[in-house]
């Protein structure tokens, strides 16, 4: 097989010229469940099997590089999320009923198929969403299965449901992408509709457990960009010894169409992406704390 490389397009559109948050270049919108058999279990059976971690509500999967952790990864988007982030780029994953029932065994087969790719690229699997910890039993099954195959595991979470993550599960997680959506509790509630504290608590627990963390922060002008707000996150990040990098993700109007097609009111319709200068300022705030920042 051949790869003819064509002339590259320029980086992602948008003022900062950086990758978009959670939906960068190379990621197709509306990826589906291609290649997976859907479960035909009936309703009551479904709930039982979901509780047992054998069945999950899955939005989609894809193979991505340099996006959701190191190397080339199979990212699995689980459905359902307790938060209602104003800038959510995947509002169709908020409700668990929007997902499709998929057997853990079916997904593990697919994961196994890509073992060699993970090994070659230093990649692995990433459970994302929605919120992965909405389906802790299902996530645990996948993480255990992956670890049994010697595959690197990552979860991408807001941490709000951190309490649902057992120590057993933590032992099967190599890296956590911890999305801290604000440092100031008021702002956090404004952005997500929920409380900040569970996230902070989960981060501290990860650090104690020794789990590597990539802390992510989405910079939204007029919403999360207050220097004091950023400073609080930076200070917090600096207290967690296992944070190996901080990613500041500039807001982009990526999910707008989806909000509209779902008929949910979208509040950030007029918000512009941050300028390069603003992104630099925020990154510098983190850097000043001695953190590695991108």
């Amino acid at each position: 097989m051949t790869i003819c490389e064509a002339t590259p397009t320029t980086g992602a559109d948008g003022a900062s010229g950086d990758q978009g948050f959670e939906a960068p270049v190379g990621r197709a919108a509306g990826a589906g469940l291609v290649g997976l058999e859907l479960s035909d279990a009936d309703r009551s059976e479904k709930f039982a099997r979901m509780r047992a971690g054998e069945l999950g509500s899955v939005h989609s999967w894809e193979l991505v590089t340099a996006v959701d952790g190191p190397g080339t990864r199979m990212t699995i988007f689980l459905s359902g999320c307790p938060l209602r982030c104003l800038y959510c780029h995947n509002p169709d994953t908020m409700a668990m009923r929007n997902g499709e029932p998929v057997e853990a065994s079916e997904l593990l087969l697919r994961i196994k198929r890509y073992r060699r790719i993970f090994k070659n690229s230093g990649g692995g699997i990433t459970l994302s969403g929605g919120e992965v910890l909405m389906q802790p039993a299902f996530a645990a099954t996948l993480l255990r299965g992956a670890k049994e195959m010697g595959i690197h595991t990552t979860i991408d979470t807001s941490g709000f449901l951190g309490a649902a993550c057992t120590d057993e599960m933590l032992a099967d997680i190599d890296l956590v992408l911890l999305d801290v959506k604000s440092g100031d509790p008021e702002t956090y509630r404004k952005v997500t509709g929920r409380a900040l504290e569970p996230t902070l608590k989960f981060g501290r627990r990860l650090a104690e457990f020794g789990t590597e963390i990539w802390l992510r922060f989405v910079l939204v002008p007029g919403l999360t960009d207050d220097p004091a707000n950023v400073e609080t996150i930076a200070e917090y990040a600096a207290t967690l010894p296992t944070v190996s990098r901080v990613e500041v993700l500039p807001f982009h109007q990526m999910g707008k169409d989806k909000w509209e097609s779902l008929g949910i009111p979208y509040e950030l319709g007029d918000t512009q992406p941050p300028t390069n200068a603003e992104v630099d300022r925020v990154r510098d705030q983190f850097r000043a704390k001695g953190l590695t920042v991108y």
Partner: protein, 701 residues
Amino acid sequence: MTTTETSTTIDGAATPDPWRGFETGPWTESVDLRDFILRNYTPYEGDASFLAGATEKTQRVWETLEKEYLSVERERRVYDVDVDTPADVDAFPAGYISSDDDVIVGLQTDVPLKRAMMPSGGWRMVETAIREAGKEPNPAVKEIFTKYRKTHNDGVFDIYTPRIRAARSSHIITGLPDAYGRGRIIGDYRRVALYGVDFLIAEKTKDKDAVADQPFSEHWARYREEHSEQIKALKKLKNLGAQYGFDLGRPAATAQEAVQWTYFGYLASVKSQDGAAMSIGRLSGFFDAYFERDLAEGTITESDAQEMIDALVIKLRIVRFLRTIDYDQIFSGDPYWATWSDGGLGEDGRTLVTKTSFRLLQTLRNLGPAPEPNITIFWDETLPDGYKEFCAAISIETSAIQYESDEQIRERWGDDAAIACCVSPMKVGKQMQFFGARVNAAKALLYAMNGGRDEVSGKQIVTGYEGVQGDGPLDFDDVWNRYERMLDWVVGTYVEALNIIHYSHDKYAYEAMEMALHDSEIIRTMGCGIAGLSIVADSLAAIKYAKVTPVRDETGLIVDYVTEGDFPTYGNDDDKADDIAATIVHTIMQKIKAIPMYRDAIPTQSVLTITSNVVYGKATGSFPSGHEAGTPFAPGANPENGADTHGMVASMMSVGKLDYNDALDGISLTNTITPAGLGRTKEEQVGNLVGILDSGFVPQD
């Protein structure tokens, strides 16, 4: 370096033993480049830190070229045309870019970028191209090629059958090399340097006379005539050398001469042929033997070696052919595919990567990125890490590198193979290809459903075939059966055209120069190709897994389809759709194989991009997959635009399921990766690209 101490003029100053310091072997007795290379090259496992930058001279030459020629050409498409001199190996006097241009010399005509006429392919193309360049053809030259000298194009049309003419005019078969040079032949240009032209003439004479006592047959006559043509071409090659002050009769005695002699071999070819792809072969290991020897002798420095490769690459970047605007549209620009193959492993397990492999990549830094020469790396997981990382880094900086699976090529064609054009592998000097352009496999599906009526014009192109009946949803088995039968007609017509074309090309536009740098007995392949694979695969998947209802116009012609429900698409590592794609490729290959080929060529197939996808798309209607009439096809074996929703690596897995045995001429997948999409730091980007390449070229578990 100083050229004075190494270049020898015709008056015959003493030259050192050209083969001094080389390990001898069978290569000293008869032409055997592979043996020479394997005995004398130095595998290199290190990194790029030894490399030298561009010398001041290199920078000056490149600047002159850019300022005085390339920038002018960009403004007016064609810099200049010589309308009086039909091209040939020694038709033009020596030409130079500037007075600094003395490292590796030689231009196609007497002025950089000035294009020459090559009317043996056909006069009409030449005349059109001259007029489009704003010049008037010379009536005397026109008279020769329209009145006295028959061309390839005339020959083809004397033979073409009615069904070929119908298929051409309805665009189900387009872009055939029936009016332009076929290309896809790589002369073993290294032979000029290693042996000198006198030895090559002696060998060809020997081969020609080896059959002198056999009785007459057409095959025998052609063999002798072609050898005479080759010998004449070799003599002209010597003239070409003399025009620039070199005696090509003897072997190259230094690294500078080795590069120069090799380039003259290539130059002679692009002076006499304007084939669609004029690739240069696999040179790095060969040059490296000379560089290592001269470096050890202390006669050159690393900077000299780099300067020579830079100078050669500059020359390869300014090859030009006289093309029409139409041609440029089919091929999306003005490519000539001076493909330079590199990397890979030897059959003995050693890496074939040398320091010169690095020097070649370094030209992209020293001179900036450019599409030519089309650098093609034979990739293997076990290539040295330093080289893999350098390839990835240069890819990220310039996106000017193409990758092939070394294992696939080596197992089939050995370790001295090179790519002609974009993907076609061949044993250098031992094999050539009859270039077959592509047949529109997607349009064939529409013909099958319309019983041979063209979905765009409504004309009945093929007779004797029944289309799908009724207005109900399409049935997969019914459509597949009709498709198979229609393919018999389409493939039969296509291969018939190819046989005619190559018969005529050999007769009227024989590549004597390139063939003189081949063995006398060679392997020939017929490189058939298909376009529109992903569209057929997705359309058949739609018919099989969703509900597809045909929409007919008032004459009963199916002009559109209503597709309801989901269906799997090719390019997402979904076996359901990928198996359909593999079956299509296999079926077409079976049909090609069933037809006898001109000169007993081995039929092969390619699923590749040559960017004619816009032209093919324009001439084709709508599909059950949702592909709209008139819109471009995806290139090569790529999934349909937007249908690959599960990431690039998943599409690589899908492409990997096409059986290489059904597509020995190559399969291409074009991917655009932005550096930022590969990671946060350069290091991360390099690592991730290496990971993707390693993953793409290995079988899955």
